[in-house]
Subunit: 417 residues, 2 copies
């Protein structure tokens, strides 16, 4: 099935907010085996909306639309859709009742403009919105479907997962089960991996597809099986995963799709290990990545962001003479930070960074982008110096991901396989 | 001037990466007084690209395009543009020389596919790319302009700032100077502010525009002056800013457009104050925001991410009985964290957080989204309890921004105006 996404909002066209909805929707649809062929971002203008719909329907049968469903007068999506599909606006008591409860639950009063949220075109099926006041609308005409959802990311996601995807599957008679398995692989380039898997790919059953999804330093291998016999799909995927394990061995470091910090967290949890970080140039970003994972308190004790040398000495116990002799951005200091935070926070493993994120502060010997990273676990300490090119934000991000990967690498080696 | 943006890349249509380019470009164009009327994301397919160009040129005279300029065979933008504009591919010695230097500077060898980066259509003006190997291409036909730029964000930004915007201005005979001034305002809603500024707006000279750009808790007021007399523009903007200062007084907390952490950093720097953070549920994100600002080492000493109670006690000196009596998510603990980190890191100001980011860990008394935040400066401590609704990432982000804003608020009060 092919679908287009239309994103509505003046705020997107002036660059005020970033559109995260279409990426998320595209990824979800892709998992279903559906194809997003175009994403169009347009203004809140009635003519633009109508033109974009006509144009998209000339190419595909399904449109998913977000935005323009707020209660204020600049949100015109609802009346425009009503006119486009030849309906008239009616007052939906069910939506009204639900919104009354929604407001009451938050101790709020409904005013005239929020009351209008219950007005809907009579030519659509209303899908209740459990986490907001804008109704989700399903339009169907001459075999074509348009689903209008709120632009608030949380509301859109709940709608998609709750009802919209399921209705789309029913509508298109798509009764296949779809199962995914993702393996995260390191120490391989995408092209190198593809060579190693030539025979594996040639022998895949026709109902299983393999996708390569690279991120820096990692290739995610996603197996997708599709068919009406769910048990068979499950069994086949299990076999394929085993085959991949045989071929790739320890290069597989995680058996589900998650962030590097998520993969690290899973390893730590499985082995009952705890962790802390000591961060200079990454400024807390590694801790932020680790704690972005729900349940991370089971293994993450904390972090010392040691931006000043004073803090490196007082909280991490980096000797003053080591700092003076080698400078803060050095193998010696970053290793002392790693072992220092491990001891201070009484944990099993630690990650440390010290570098020059720029744009100022570089020297000929240590230019901007020079980052020393160290990891330790038990009595072993490993460090390396990275040279990252780009903006300050990019250098921080790359150093963060590389440092996490270093600990994953160490833990994989330590596993004794 | 109206322009459309076309973003090319299969990876965007399967939701593998997020498009940050179009937001950035739209914001830059908006600052120039130009209007982005549509953003279209399409696949790397030749037909899609040609159709999208034709369609966009039927609506506007200018297209800015990113992506599909890599050296691999799936990047077809260059030959497609060549065909569209009726040219043939030639080998550009200047691009080749530059790419040779680019590779040499990184200690890399150029291979056959990277050598092909120097092939360009003979119907475009090549704009050198100082930070990458893909040439930027300027096509001009019958008064219409298409600029093709790499999809790598850093390369695109350098191209836009370096040459593309300037050429667009020249092409459209747009010789006006454009000056901006942004004031960041808090303690006001957008509609409340708009009422307070009714007379101010009515009295604005015709060459000055005022835009309201809200983010949670803040409205950014952007004044844009446009004309050929730069001195007059400058003088008028200075006067307008003074008028706004008279009307809004202390509600203006920053006189340039930046993140909240940037505005806080500017205040701290101006007053010679230092800062540290003590973070539980925000997990290092406040430190990350502060250190995202270049030059933050001048005022940021460091941070203790105290996820476990053990760390709250050992590094921040939160008394065990206070933790036992009130629980980690409490006014008493978060205030002790703030004063504790202020003392431990020997700074003037501190921010602390302790809350439940979810999705697990909530209780009827302290549901998910409950976050205690404290700020202190000198001997004064202020705390408040936030109730944020949404995903774990959203709760962390909102608590981060609110906590930073609390310290800004305190510093504004302390300024004695």
């Amino acid at each position: 099935m092919k679908t287009e996404i239309i994103v509505i909002g003046d705020e997107l066209l002036i660059g005020q907010v970033i559109d995260t909805n279409s990426k998320w929707m595209a990824a979800e649809l892709n998992k279903q085996g559906w194809e997003v062929t175009r994403i169009t971002t347009i203004s809140d203008g009635a003519e633009d909306i109508k033109e974009a719909i006509s144009s998209a329907f000339s190419r595909v049968d399904t449109i998913l639309m977000t935005g323009g469903l707020g209660p204020t007068s600049d949100d015109v999506t609802k009346p425009v859709l009503c006119e486009y599909f030849g309906g008239r606006m009616i007052f939906d008591e069910m939506v009204y009742e639900q919104n009354l409860r929604y407001f009451a639950g938050r101790g709020l009063q409904m005013n005239q403009s929020t009351r209008r949220q219950a007005e809907v075109p009579d030519v659509c099926t209303v899908i209740p919105n459990p986490v907001g006041t804008a109704p989700i609308m399903w339009f169907e005409q001459e075999g074509k479907v348009l689903v209008a959802m709120p632009g608030v990311p949380h509301e859109m996601r709940v709608a998609m997962k709750g009802d919209v995807l399921e209705r789309l599957r029913r509508h298109y008679g798509d009764n296949d089960a779809i199962l995914h398995r993702t393996l995260m692989v390191f120490r391989n380039t995408e092209s190198g991996l593809s060579e190693r898997l030539t025979d594996f790919e040639a022998a895949l059953p026709p109902f299983v597809k393999l996708a390569y999804l690279p991120i820096p330093g990692v290739v995610r291998l996603r197996l997708t099986a599709r068919g009406n016999d769910e048990d068979l799909l499950q069994k086949t995927l299990d076999e394929m995963v085993e085959k991949l394990r045989t071929i790739l061995g320890d290069d597989i470091f995680c058996d589900e799709d998650m962030t590097l910090a998520g993969a690290l967290g899973k390893m730590l949890k499985n082995r009952g290990l705890s962790i802390a970080t000591a961060e200079s140039c990454t400024g807390g970003n590694i801790a932020h990545e680790i704690t972005a994972i729900s349940g991370s308190s089971a293994y993450f004790n904390g972090s010392v962001v040691a931006y000043s040398n004073e803090v490196k000495e007082s909280l991490l116990g980096v000797p003053a003479d080591v700092l003076a002799q080698h400078g803060a951005v050095s193998k010696e200091v970053v290793e002392a930070m790693a072992t220092g935070v491990k001891q201070a926070l009484n944990v099993d493993c630690a990650i440390a960074t010290s570098g020059i994120a720029g744009p100022d502060g570089g020297t000929p010997e240590k230019p901007v982008g020079t980052v020393w990273m160290a990891v330790c676990c038990g009595g072993v300490v490993v460090s390396e110096c990275g040279h990252f090119a780009g903006s300050r934000a990019y250098i921080i991000e790359r150093a963060t991901q590389r440092a996490i990967m270093m600990l994953i690498d160490m833990l994989c080696g330590r596993s004794g396989k």
